[in-house]
């Protein structure tokens, strides 16, 4: 996954309203009106959030003119957690090596002190 894509997903997830929208959509598709209800928000305000989510590829919207249901697109979130897993592996691997290296350093220290 490219940093550009990651960046737009991070941005989209940075807003609590958008995260709530995604959580709601995880239970199934919804109309914009249904999504707006729990947020006491105007439809245009909700639409703005949906556009950000759509641009980030996190949701897709139906093409029916009247009822454009929003659906969660799971792929980008999976990609995001895959990226975070890779990053965690970098640190886990590095810290494993650090552990071994510190033992070597400690032995070296003791040796220095004896001489």
């Amino acid at each position: 996954m490219t940093p550009d894509r990651l960046s737009s997903i991070f941005s989209a997830l940075a807003d609590p309203t958008r995260r709530s929208i995604l959580e709601r959509l995880a239970f199934g598709e919804c109309s914009v009106t249904e999504l707006a209800e729990p947020f006491r928000m105007s439809l245009p305000a909700v639409s703005k959030h949906l556009k950000v989510l759509e641009r980030a590829g996190l949701i897709v919207r139906g093409r029916e003119a009247q009822w454009r249901p929003c659906r969660l697109e799971a792929g980008p979130l999976r990609d995001l957690s895959a990226w975070l897993e890779t990053y965690r592996r970098f640190w886990d691997g590095s810290l494993d090596r650090l552990d071994g290296y510190l033992q070597q350093l400690k032995k070296g220290d003791l040796h220095d002190r004896k001489t």
Partner: protein, 168 residues
């Protein structure tokens, strides 16, 4: 690529931003004194010996360990790919705490997002407890407006979402 966005970004990271929820937390206990662990993180001679997972090497390591000082580490993967980490230190408290941020560039080489890494060292039953926290900070213009929202932490929501995704 201009240096301006990076400089701006780094000055924007105030202490208050770090009460966001970290994207990643790793805790490790090392059987070594705190000063030695700190030394391993701040002396390039030592850094090159352990930086990167097994099978990786570190052909370049330049660290100017003081607030605002530069950090540049190149890591070379087993297949020869070079992974560059470039950024700046924020907090340097000897033997206790170290933080730096590095910008992840997009495919056009423009800053895309930024990672803030915080290392905290504590004494723990004669050993050293290391806590690593990684935060994602934004650098794109559309992201700047939403930085405030980060304070509630999206990583917990992400965890919840991941749980829900299994039901799809």
């Amino acid at each position: 690529m201009t240096a301006k966005p990076k400089d701006q970004l780094i000055s924007d990271i105030s202490e208050s931003k770090t009460d966001m929820t970290p994207t990643m937390t790793i805790v490790r206990i090392f059987d070594a004194p705190r000063p030695l662990v700190f030394e391993a993180f701040t002396n390039p001679k030592h850094l090159v010996r352990w930086w990167g997972p097994h099978g990786f090497t570190t052909p370049l390591c330049e660290v100017d360990v003081r607030p605002g000082g530069a950090i540049h580490i190149d890591m070379r993967g087993p297949d020869g790919t070079i992974y560059t980490m470039k950024g700046a230190y924020h907090e340097v408290v000897e033997f206790e705490r170290l933080s730096w941020s590095n910008v992840v560039d997009d495919t056009e080489g423009k800053p895309s997002f930024e990672l803030l890494q915080i290392i905290a060292l504590n004494d723990h039953e004669g050993k050293t407890k290391l806590t690593l926290q990684v935060y994602v900070l934004m650098s794109t213009p559309q992201a700047a407006e939403s930085l405030g929202g980060m304070e509630t932490g999206w990583s917990q929501s992400l965890e919840r979402l991941k749980g829900l995704l299994f039901t799809l």
